[in-house]
């Protein structure tokens, strides 16, 4: 059992952040014992909630001086266990760092604290005709700081790219409390190493970003959303290849398979998808109004050519919202079907989608597990969902074994073990599927530059030197 912090240390931390912002009460700590990956529950030693860069630096200096490991945490929506506190670690949470510091519509940049919720940033930018492009499915809960740590994606990456494209600068507290400035929108990006790019996606292992500078985009003038219903998943996957092959660049191309459709339709998020369909494909175009109808018509024709039994068009904003709600809330809809759920995350080349999906379904059958697929088809980013009950040890073991096989199948198809959820705790064991020891060692070296004492989110991302799985 993990040791509580000494009274003296608690006093020092409370002296920095205020009496109520150091959490040590075991009941209150329970909130922080897991993140979106609920299979793991690790109780932190304490949680400290600094209000700004200075407080954060002071807190980290103290913890570093005591040799105490630190784990940054945003909203705790991460799906790979990145915010779990290993033995003896203190969580440094960003909940109180939730202000948008500036929003500059002329230069289309905003500066904010890491605890700002993703969707709130776009809301704040909207009056200026701007928005923040990365939109992970958890965007109404997850924080921009968490998105920076995970290099989060979302359904619209196909056209707009992932978080790293939109982060122009960072203020980072290094584990020993030093504050560094990385990048900046006014800086020449070709005049130094891309430390912003290196930091984004480092999963809290390099330091804690206390200020984030982001690039905003003008809101698209118009949007067209189609829902194509297919008899089979294969037809839907072929339609995706056809749309991309035709030179169209949709903002999003999302597939839900039959199991996912059923789960959504049986839940409060029901969006009117036919429950007997093999797959539903959401195709969205955005941009200048004048070009959208032509794009949508071409995509519709291509879907029909690939065997779509029906193509619906969202004609109003509310229809579009309903359609997306089914897709974005699919995760929540599975709650009815099983007590626990693991969302896998892997990317394969788009042309390998059909064969890999076949393999995944086959693996599910062999391990007698319910597997549902909701995924970013345009990017080849798969999210097989494996349903289980954590109290059933045998079933949990089968989920573990099936997950490993699914990862291997994706890697064999030329893919990777995570497209947007990160490695965290959960996927360290898969890292050796794609990297050799020489690459893993290079990653350890990069981390050591930022975190020579190894106190920053230890036990995450890169497997330890000796214990390769």
């Amino acid at each position: 059992m993990t040791q509580p912090l000494s009274d003296a240390l608690q006093r020092r931390l409370r002296g920095i952040v205020g009496e109520t912002h150091v959490v040590t009460d075991p009941d209150r700590l329970l909130v922080y014992e897991s993140d979106g990956l609920t299979a793991y529950r690790w109780l932190p030693r304490a949680v400290v909630l600094p209000a700004d860069t200075d407080e954060c630096a002071a807190v980290m200096r103290v913890l570093h001086g005591e040799g105490i490991p630190m784990v940054p945490r945003g909203a705790g929506t991460g799906l790979s266990g990145g915010a779990l506190a290993p033995e003896g670690a203190v969580v440094v949470g960003t909940a109180r760092m939730a202000r948008i510091l500036s929003l500059d519509p002329v230069n289309r940049v905003a500066r904010l604290q890491p605890g700002v919720v993703n969707a709130r940033l776009s809301e704040a930018a909207r009056p200026h005709g701007l928005y923040y492009a990365p939109d992970p499915s958890s965007q109404t809960a997850c924080t921009v700081g968490g998105n920076v740590a995970e290099n989060s994606g979302g359904p619209h990456c196909l056209k707009y790219g992932v978080t790293s494209r939109y982060i122009t600068g960072l203020t980072v507290v290094l584990p020993h409390g030093e504050v560094v400035e990385l990048g900046g929108a006014s800086r020449d990006p070709e005049a130094a190493y891309d430390l912003v790019g290196l930091f984004v996606g480092s999963e809290g292992c390099f330091g804690l970003a206390t200020e984030v500078e982001v690039r905003l985009l003008p809101l698209p003038e118009g949007v067209r959303t189609l829902l194509a219903i297919f008899h089979t998943l294969e037809d839907a996957a072929r339609a995706v290849t056809a749309v991309v092959g035709a030179g169209l660049l949709p903002a999003a191309l999302e597939i839900m398979d039959n199991a996912a459709i059923r789960a959504v339709e049986a839940s409060v998020f029901a969006a009117g998808y036919p429950v007997d369909a093999g797959a539903a494909l959401v195709v969205e175009f955005d941009g200048t109004e004048a070009g959208l109808d032509a794009d949508a018509q071409r995509a519709e024709a291509l879907c029909l050519e690939q065997g779509a039994r029906e193509v619906r068009r969202a004609t109003s904003a509310s229809e579009r919202d309903a359609l997306w709600k089914g897709r974005k809330k699919a995760f929540g809809a599975f709650g009815r079907l099983a007590p626990d759920l693991i969302v896998q995350d892997a990317t394969v080349p788009r042309t390998k989608l059909t064969s890999v999906l076949h393999e995944i379904m086959d693996i599910g059958r062999r391990y007698d597990l319910t597997v549902a697929n909701v995924f970013h088809a345009g990017d080849g980013n798969l999210h097989p969902k494996l349903l289980y009950d954590r109290r059933n040890a045998d079933q949990l073991a089968r989920v573990e074994a099936a997950s490993m096989e699914i990862m291997a199948a994706c890697v064999n198809a030329g893919g990777t073990i995570t497209g947007e959820h990160g490695v965290g705790v959960d996927k360290r064991k898969y890292m050796s599927l794609i990297y050799g020891e020489v690459e893993l060692e290079a990653m350890r070296q990069a981390k050591a530059v930022f975190d020579p004492s190894g106190l920053m989110n230890p036990g995450k991302v890169v497997p330890d030197r000796e214990a390769s799985p």
Binding site: D104, V106, N107, G129, E150, G153, L158, V162, S164, R165, V180, E181, G184, A185, S186, R187, D188, P189, E190, A191, A192, Y193, D194, L195, G197, L198, V200, G201, F206, V244, G245, G247, L248, G287, T288, A290, G291, A294, D295, T347, V348, P349, R350, T351, D379, G380, G414, G415, T416, E420, H421, V423, I434, Y435, V438, E439, A442, M443, A446, V449
Partner: protein, 422 residues
């Protein structure tokens, strides 16, 4: 430190022994392989990953540096700090894997962007980058410089396009980083670290990049004026308008009378491009669509303007500070040819007569650009200029991290010694 002729001859012989004599550039051709005005001892052209490692190992054993070069269009202005050999990537060429339906391609570092573009065009695809002399640049050079050109704001920079890399670190480790899929967050993003590291962390051997469908229509609009100030209002309207154009560049012809041209490129479906044009430009704007016979010439200027001169600097700021940035550049380099990326807030300015430029004027310029929060770098310069004026101003509050990273990936200090982050 100078090396004896004998030891240089034995180095050349050793390289010939490793790679075969045809893979070592003849001595009389070496002047065209100069780096920052310094002549290399030799230029070697390895054809495999293993040969790259051997060249690095030999150089390390001989105590000489290695400067990787691709198309030699943008070798950087700094001279290496000691004797060095050039590692040319031209034999590491060829498309290795092109899957049009995946919108990805993997190719050797030495392939030129022109060759790559021709392959991609056959399938209606392209890699949307336009740094100076883009066609002659190599894929490896694009990765090493990270240079996007004016298309960067709309499409992203090389850092956003590069999906995976094979690199050889200074100490000879072969790293296969990233992959060839669109989204990949497995492990720390060393690909981003390598992109734009200018041959100081590793030698790029091959790269996988994401591609885009070629736009149906590619339209160039232009408007000229006797003085750049007359175009600033229009430039600002474009930069803050409701549409992000493919690129928007203000060309200033300082060496030939001071006239200026604003060039705006709009791409997309034909039906959308005309609408974009109308949304982007204020009513009554003097912008006109360029006749087809003038498009190629202006497009080339947008890419290369100013970059041909013997002294070329690059200044950055926020796009909203472009007027101040242009004033500062114009004052320091009154006869410079400048290309201002209106969307990014960056200016490249080339000067045909560097002798006329006072080092103090450059120093003052760096201070003024710094006051805007920006940075000033020297892309090309005669050695005399760089003696008193470093090509890069260190990033104040993160420089030590860069130096430490360099030490990890090139512990022996073999790669591009004395250049870039140091």
């Amino acid at each position: 430190m100078s090396r004896g002729e004998t030891s240089t001859r034995s180095l050349v012989a050793a390289l010939g022994g490793l790679l075969g004599p045809e893979a070592v550039v003849p001595v009389d051709a070496l002047p065209s392989w100069e780096v920052g005005g310094a002549k290399p001892l030799a230029a070697a052209l390895p054809g495999t990953v293993e040969e790259v490692r051997e060249v690095l190992a030999l150089a390390a054993a001989e105590g000489v540096g290695v400067v990787p070069l691709g198309g030699r269009t943008d070798p950087g202005s700094e001279a290496p700090s000691g004797p060095f050999v050039v590692l040319g990537t031209e034999r590491l060429d060829g498309v290795q894997d092109y899957e049009p339906a995946d919108l990805t391609v993997t190719a050797g570092a030495g392939i030129t962007l022109a060759t790559l573009a021709a392959t991609l065009a056959e399938r209606g695809q392209w890699l949307p980058v336009d740094p100076p002399f883009a066609g002659g640049r190599t894929l490896g050079g694009l990765v090493a410089t990270g240079a996007a050109g004016p298309l960067g704001t709309a499409y992203g920079a090389p850092r956003d396009h590069v999906l995976g890399l094979t690199v050889v670190t200074g100490d000879g480790r072969v790293l296969r980083l990233g992959g060839r899929v669109m989204k990949n967050v497995a492990g720390f993003d060393l690909v981003k670290l390598m992109v734009g590291s200018r041959g100081t962390l590793g030698v790029v051997v091959s790269a996988s990049v994401r591609l885009f469908p070629r736009p149906e229509e590619d339209r160039l609009l232009a408007c000229s004026a006797a003085h750049p100030h007359e175009l600033l209002e229009l430039a600002r309207a474009v930069a803050t308008g409701p549409v992000v154009p493919a690129s928007a560049v203000l060309l200033i012809h300082g060496s030939s009378g001071g006239g200026a041209t604003l060039a705006v490129r709009i791409q997309g479906a034909s039906s959308a491009v005309s609408a974009d044009q109308a949304r982007l430009l204020p009513r009554g704007s003097a912008m006109r669509r360029l006749p087809p016979e003038e498009v190629a010439g202006l497009r080339e200027q947008v890419r290369d303007h100013g970059a041909v001169h013997p002294l070329v600097v690059r200044a950055s700021a926020l796009p909203g500070d472009l007027p101040e940035l242009l004033d500062a550049v114009g004052e320091a380099l009154p006869h410079g040819d400048a290309a201002a990326d209106v969307m990014a807030g960056r200016v490249r300015c080339g000067v045909p007569d560097p002798e006329a430029v006072e080092i103090d004027a450059l120093r003052r310029l760096r201070v003024r650009v710094g006051a805007l929060g920006g940075s000033l770098s020297v892309e090309r310069a005669p050695a005399t200029v760089l003696e008193g004026f470093p090509a890069y101003a260190p990033e104040r509050r993160s420089h030590a991290l860069g130096v430490a990273l360099r030490d990890r990936f090139d512990p022996g200090g073999v790669l591009s010694p004395g250049r870039f982050v140091r």
